[in-house]
Symmetry: C2
Subunit: 135 residues, 2 copies
DNA sequence: CTTGACCTTGCCGTAAGGTTAAGCTTGAAA
DNA sequence: TTTCAAGCTTAACCTTACGGCAAGGTCAAG
């Protein structure tokens, strides 16, 4: 099958497939006489694997390591689990950060009348006026 | 003061200050005879405002709008509040996404022995084997 | 005189592609 | 047969928000 069909069946875009090939996640695709990339079922499995890993939020670098482990029949599952756990910790940190930002913003918006008057504790706080926020 | 001191006092980097000037968040800085940028206390207030807004996760585009509102003595606080609320919603969506990813990954890692054996439900799930996860 | 800190502009690189552009091939309709 | 659209190719530029580095100008101290 050509790249368009492979894209449709894997959930990736044509551009992403070429990008991943260039990035090194995929081997150089076979080419037909006309120069078109040509894919088989085994290639499709790899594409789908990448698609699912990306959906779970793994970076391309992490996907690359997952693929290496996938290719290695003898690898220990502990390695994969460790990679996943590391990723979970990163997600947790990011979530905590965003929650803190959200809490700060909510406190500020809570203090703001939000009417046609110009007084605005949000801008005051950004400007450095600590009296802007009254709990 | 020169750009280095302004950077130290505002919490931004020299590079960021030049970038923001170019981006349009700051007016063209005054220059000394030697061509160095020259800042005053009023400039510092603007730099600090930007710094705080960035810490709260606003994009440069949003910061630009906040600055415009800040500069406008007659603006209604409702506009600022709306901008903040929109940002809160974006944060909420991002947090929810990350939490779902985390939950999926936790379920997978929970099912994985994580020892020296090669069987690994995480890789199986990425490969598309739905039997990998047993709740 | 030299050294080192600070300043200038400007280009390259990042993640993860999206979006054209210019030019092939292929298949089907007119 | 011609022509049209769809699909393919590579290449290059756009995004965010800067960091890093190059090559060079400026300034104060030893």
């Amino acid at each position: 099958m050509n790249i368009g069909e492979a894209a449709a069946k894997s959930g990736l875009s044509r551009k992403m497939i070429r990008y991943y090939e260039n990035y090194g996640l995929l081997p150089q695709a076979q080419r037909s006489d006309n120069g078109y990339r040509h894919y088989q079922a085994s290639d499709l499995r790899r594409l789908r694997f990448i698609h699912r890993a990306r959906e779970l939020g793994f970076s391309l670098d992490e996907v690359s390591r997952l693929l290496a482990l996938w290719d290695d029949q003898a690898r220990a599952s502990a390695e994969v689990k460790q990679l996943a756990k590391t990723h979970i910790v990163e997600l947790e940190q990011r979530i905590t950060e965003l929650q803190q930002l959200k809490a700060s913003l909510e406190q500020l918006t809570h203090c703001c009348h939000g009417d046609e008057r110009p007084e605005c504790p949000i801008l005051d706080a950004l400007a450095g006026n600590d009296n802007a926020v009254q709990p």
